[in-house]
Each structure stands twice: as C-alpha cells, then as structure tokens.
Symmetry: C2
Subunit: 321 residues, 2 copies
C-alpha cells in the first residue's frame, strides 16, 4: 500500500500535463528505489526524442546567464523547454547571487518552461545520478528541448557527453593555468565552445587559442567540426551565433542518423550503471558476503591476508548463469 496509489494518481495527473505532478515525480525518481523504477517503467514508452543539450564549464563562466537568454529565445520560437541544473553554484540551484537567482526563477513562472535543479552526487556538483531519468520524464512530459547545466569539474564533463546530444562548453577568457588544464578534458567533449564575457580584452585571443587546439583534433571526413562562438550573456551579444551553432549541430546529428545512435548509447550506459548499482546493493544485503567480510577483513587488518585474496574469495561467491 503506502505511496503506491499516490504514484498512480501522480502519473495520471502527469499525463494530463500537470506541472506539480511532474515536479513530484522528479522527487520520486531522485529518491530512487522501487517507486522510482515504477515511474520510469511507466513513462518510458512515452519518451520519444527530445533534444538534449548539455552546458558545462568551470563555475562562474556564466552558464546560467547564457541559458537564461537562450531559453527566452527558444520559448519565443514555441519550443517546449525543460531546464535541469546539476550545478550547486548555479542560480537555478539557488547557489549564486540573489539578483541572478530571481531572474532565473522568473523563468519558472512561465508554466511552459519547466525548471528544476537536481542534487548532485559530489559536494562539488558534477552530475546527478538520475539526470538521464529526469530528462526521460521531461521527454515523456512533452518537452522537446531539454537543457542540462552541469559544472565542468572532475569526471563530470565526460558524463555529460554520455547524456546529451550536443555539448556546449562555456569558458571565460580570464581563466588561468588551471582552466587551461581543464580545457584539455573539455576540448574532447565539446561540440560548441563558447567564450563568454567577450567584452573582456583577452576574449578574442582566448577564442583563437581554442580554435588552434581544435585544429589538432583528428576529425574524420564529414565529421562535426566544433564551433567556437564569442558571447556576452549580460550584453546579449553573440547569442544568435550560439543559437545558429546549436541548430547546425542538431541538423548534423539528424542528417547523419546520429540522433538515434546517441539515444542508444544513453540507454545502454544507463542499463550498465543500473545493473552495477543493483549488484552492489545485492552484495551489501547478502549475509554470506557480510559474514565472509567480517571474518576475513580481520586477517587483512592484521597483515595476514592480502585484500586481493578476499576479493577473489568474494568473487567466487557471485555466480553468473
């Protein structure tokens, strides 16, 4: 019993386009467990092919302001938009200056735009465990454009590349050595590079640097050549160029049949991850495993047994038919 009838009711209202129900279903998904799976099983058939665009880059690069501008324009074009922020420093997540936050929140007052921030796994952000699933929910909710904001630190920048059709890397000219190194990772995953705050004197030089680095990339014939765009979100310059670049990448994906291929990759990596999560849970819940660990780890702590001997023993307990 418990919450189950509640979820059915939520799904019903969700199917009718009720925003509150959608928001509550996201919480169900975030909480995980059987309830989450039930929701995801039910909505999966309704997911089609919403276009997922990831925005990543160092904290403070202006990703949120850029998203705000883009969202307003996409909205005027009649797109049905969801904005998912997985960045604790994002104004969408309440992590930034009050002024920004209020501006972003004004988006959510437009009931046609769904704005939601997700709790991130690490304290530093990166990407939430259920970003894919929440994107699916928004897809099933009838959104055709899903914008995901993540902070590009650690391994998270690679994860967004596994989850989005198009990756926009947002950088700022003022970044020092550290950001240079960061770029190394970001270089590999960006379809579009935005040099934001282009009113800064070093912006053009920094954009040229990125273009030079991109030239070193081995792009196969007919492959996508990453675009570099100069913007200033505050002064609304370059936003059209960015929109054009996103449009071009979208067309490219469709022309090459990559849209569906990407979707397959997303689903496959999700299954793999979910299976591993389940197995970890299964191991944790197994009494045999717990007993063995209790017994053997004592010997390991005393230096009598190598950890890898325990690992091999545990491995033998797990059987795959």
């Amino acid at each position: 019993m418990g919450n189950k009838p509640d979820i059915d009711a939520l799904l019903e209202r969700f199917a009718e386009g009720n925003v509150t129900a959608a928001a509550r279903l996201i919480s169900v998904i975030e909480n995980g467990g059987e309830e989450a799976e039930r929701v995801l099983d039910r909505i999966f058939a309704q997911t089609s092919n919403a276009y997922r665009v990831g925005f990543t880059g160092p904290p403070g690069a202006g990703k949120s302001s850029l998203l705000y501008r883009l969202t307003r324009i996409f909205r005027e074009e009649g797109r049905r938009i969801a904005v998912i922020a997985v960045d604790p420093t994002s104004p969408f997540s309440g992590g930034a200056l009050l002024g920004d936050r209020i501006r972003m929140q004004s988006l959510s007052e437009d009931t046609e735009i769904f704005v939601r921030s997700l709790a991130s796994r690490g304290s530093l952000g990166g990407i939430s465990n259920c970003t894919d699933e929440v994107c699916d929910l928004m897809d099933a909710f009838g959104k055709d454009l899903i914008l995901v904001e993540t902070v590009g630190v650690g391994q998270s920048e690679l994860e967004i590349a596994e989850k989005a059709h198009t990756v926009v890397v947002v950088l700022v000219p003022e970044s020092g050595d550290g950001i240079q190194a960061m770029k190394a990772g970001l270089m590999e995953i960006g379809d579009i590079f935005v040099m934001n705050k282009c009113d800064h004197s070093d912006a053009e030089l920094a954009a040229l640097e990125i273009e030079d680095t991109l030239k070193l990339k081995n792009i196969p014939a007919g492959g996508w050549k990453p675009r570099v765009v100069l913007t200033s979100a505050r002064e609304e310059t370059g936003i059209d160029d960015l929109l054009r670049a996103i449009g071009e990448h979208h067309t490219y994906l469709q022309d090459k049949g990559l849209f569906r291929k990407k979707r397959k990759q997303i689903l496959f990596s999700r299954v793999r991850r979910a299976v591993m999560d389940k197995l970890e849970q299964k191991l944790r819940n197994s009494e045999t495993v717990r007993d063995l660990i209790d017994r053997r780890m004592k010997e390991v702590y005393d230096g009598k047994l190598s950890p890898y001997q325990v690992v091999r023993e545990l491995e033998r307990i797990v059987k795959i038919d």
Copy 2:
C-alpha cells in the same frame, strides 16, 4: 610463463631497495590484471603504517611548490619520503611551467625520495584507481611518509579523504565564486587548511573566512579542530606552521587510536571497490549477459521495453551463494 619470472626478479630487487625495480612495479600495478594482484599479494605483508598525507585543492593553488618545500625539510629530518602526484597540472606530472618542473625533478635525483606521477582516471585528474596500491608499494619499500598530491575538483576531494591519514587543503586568496563553492566540499574533508600565496592582500581575510566556516562545523568533544595556516611557498613563509600542524594531527591520530582505524577504512573501501570492478568484468565477459543485452536492448531502443526491465532480468542472472 611470459612476464612471470620477470616479476619475481623485480620483487627480489625491490626487496633489496632497488629504486628502478620499485618504479617498474608501479607500472605493473598501474597496468592492473593478474600481474598487479600478484605483486600486491606479495608485498602486502610488508606494509606497516606509513603515514599518508593528501594534499588537495584547485589547480594552480601551489600544491606542488608547497610539497617541494615540505619534502626538503622532511628529508633533512631523515624521513623516508615518497611523493605521488595524481594531478595532471602538477609539475611532478610534467604539466606545469618548465622552471617548476625542473625544480621538482631535482627532488627525484635524491635517491632517498621516491617521486612518481600516476595517470589519473578523468582527463582532469582527481585520483588514480591505484593510488592506494601504489602507496602500499611505497610503504612496503620502507617509506615512512607518503605525500599524495591530487587536484581538488569533482568527487576526487572526497576520495583522497578515504585514502589519507591527514588531508591538507591548499587554497589561494584570489579565487572567486567558483572556489567558494568548491570550498563547501573541501571544508568537510580538510584536517588542515592552507591559505597559500599569503603575500596577496586578501589572504588574511580569506583565512578568516575559512575559520568562520569551520566554526559552523559540529566537532565532538576531543575531536580534531581543523587548523588554518597562512603560507607562501615561493617565499618560504609559514612552512614551519604547516609542518607543526601536520605534526599535531599525526600526534592526534596516534593518541586517539585513529591511525589504525583509518588504515582499516582504507583497506575496506579498497576491497569493496575491487570486488565491484571484478564483477563488472565478469558481467562483460559473460556470454549469457551479452546475449541477453543484445536481444533486449533492441526492444528498449524501440521503446517496447523499459531499461529497468532489462536491469531486473540481468539482476536475476547474477546469483550470490
């Protein structure tokens, strides 16, 4: 046959204190597989209780320069030191300015100091999969002090807290909003906070900010109160204060019996991680699993089956005795 006799020979020379053999064994560990396990099984009984100190913080905070200064002093005190860098932007890894790099390399010419950089998992660094194991090797090699440098981005800062007895968080006053957010994660794991480049005008204010934030922490009676130290690695100021803080934390750990407790935690989390890695491998190698995925994923791609139905099916294939 193959490399096996070679590893025995390496282990023999390693036991005699041969540095080249130690370096080659690290490569064996980095490459993983059976050979790595064999090495780790063999050296495990020789690991005792080397003191492991992790240094983390944003790229460019000056972790390497600080490590360089500390290492020279520890060396004069007769400590047997290993420096393990898992930061692609670190001069130890060859990622920084040539001058720094040469200075750091001069350390390795001192045969009593073992310096090694490890390939990191993400493009951005963080921590290597085998940091623990390489620390063990250094421990078995007779090192009593192991300094690990990681870049504090993403989830990696939490990982270093699982691997080191003492965590030193290195920050710089010039950091903006992004770093503020970063601090939120770093605040939780630091035993010692270093405000480096303290010749900067904002350094004292920044250090006070950290102290204020630390006051919000709920420290149990008799618990460790994190220290905040102002340093300038280039001008060699504050290094003594940092050394004292490290010494105090070391004493604290020993007095409270936490040294051994930490070691247990390290070993336990390693076993858990290794088991999961093995299971993932086992799943990947299983024909039953591959067949099922091939068949079912087609239905998922066509929207006929939810990914979670496949996950549940896969889960049933795995049995734990």
